[in-house]
Amino acid sequence: MSIEVRHITKTFNQHQALRDVSLAVPNGELVALLGPSGCGKTTLLRIIAGLEEPDADDSARVLFDGQDVAERGVGQRRVGFVFQHYALFRHMNVFDNIAFGMRVKPWRQRPRRGQIRDKVTHLLELIQMADLGRRFPSQLSGGQRQRVALARALAVEPKVLLLDEPFGALDAKVRADLRSWLRRLHDELHMTSLFVTHDQEEALEVADRIVVMNDGQVEQVGTPDQVFHQPTNTFVADFLGKVNLFHARVEQGKLVAGALVMDAPASGAAEGQAAQVLVRPHDLLVARVADDTAALPAKVTRVISTSSVVRVDLVTTDGQTLQADLAHEAFAPLALSVGDAVFVGPRRSHVVVDDYVI
């Protein structure tokens, strides 16, 4: 089922949590709502679920498969909702938690006792907790609780799955495991899913499409590749990962930022116009000897080799800090250490012309 919201505004005590937000989520996609805390992403999710009502406005709409659901109460929208802090029913065991949604159905639609048992057993297997049906929520680990919350939401066969910071309260390690589990689950079920997160890594890894939000508004919508490699403004670029920022000016068809001279983008920027050049750390070349690309002198301040890349922190002569991520094989011949003088420049860059200041 596709989801669409149009012109949604929401005000809490004079604070505008959402400002005229419109958004479409295609059927079957796994979409992330990504932004810093306070950006309104959770509020948007709750409005879609029907747990909050948007400010009264004639043009405000929440559409499921093109149908307005404003009149449908929260129980009639057939959404599955997973809360950040699980919200498991603390006085029911895992089995009863999962069965709850089926048991409260109106008499005619309610599955028979045996059907409920089969369904719950199946879901317990799906979340790899087949033996733990009799446990109470307090006897489960955080990761297990979150999986039970997911199974409970799936039990009523929702058309849409909404997840509010599903892994926010978990350890880094457990989070990474559950993340790929959620992705696999979505690939099996192919249900339209929308999840809220403030962790860009999570969004980039799991989602088909990312909605970057800031301050009650949508900044960019796109695939992980699009928002990461072609951000439309510096907020998005900065929020999605470390980025090196050069303030440049268009001079004679070229972009000039100190010692760096780069090709201006085709979308003809006017002479003298200011522009931001964004360079991801892995696109920053580091060389011992200056050349056309690596023209900016810098000094190594820190080398961290404990991940899939070697991270080199640098500082330019005018005090700007930069970060370069080199492949271990590319780093080995350079053999940089703290204090070394090097030259840097962008292998590839992305230019943004806007007035947003980090």
Partner: protein, 284 residues
Amino acid sequence: MKRAGDPLWLRVLLIAVSTAFLGLFVLLPLIAVFAGALRDGLGVYLRALAEPEAWSAIKLTLLVAAIVVPANVFFGLAAAWTIARFRFVGRSLLTTLIDLPFAVSPVVSGLIYVLMFGLHGWFGPWLSAHNLKVIFAVPGVVLATLFVTFPFVARELIPLMEEQGSEEEEAALVLGAGGLRTFWSITLPNVRWALLYGVILCNARAMGEFGAVSVVSGHIRGRTNTLPLQVEILYNEYQFAAAFALASLLSLLALVTLVIKRLAERKVAREKRAGLSLEPSLEH
């Protein structure tokens, strides 16, 4: 949790002071009542309880509690749920007023019912015209007790409900449960122990109320005397053994109340812990 930062003498002193204070002013007196009741032997004790007037007082006390406690459970639950779950104009006034019966003297609580329903009160003429008696009759005793014991249920529930938040209820609503079903399946079970505690405290207080009831009851022997009133009458007539015999019933009620309270408190504490999410900070 033994805190290395506090000197040992301070901890010992504090624990000793608190315990001594409670022992001296709370536990010792309680023992005294039972000692006093049984001073003249078990036979006298049982005879005192079997007196017709004593029996009548016991029955009236049970009747009052049987009306007041369910009423206050209903109103207490409604008030607590309303306050913990909704934001509305007058919400804070409602919260404040719940404690009014604590703040006002029991004598005054009784007097206001006399003012309203007494012979010369606001509704007095109307009541006597319809041959209804409130003051110096059972309805007055019930109303006065209702007023005095109102805060106990609501006060136990409000903080717990606010702490638990409404996420579980929201989860139930999203799963398709109606408002009433959510209340019975989620809200009520989550506060059941705190509710039990509020109920037994309300009950103990309803059975033991003296001041307000004293003003409205008229002390009509065998008719409008509750247990506490009967105790005072016996005491004023120097029937000490009988007075203490009835008083021991009230003390027993207090002890049973505290034992149930103890159990309920443990359950509440356990449920609070159970509700906590596994945060790294909880590690030890």
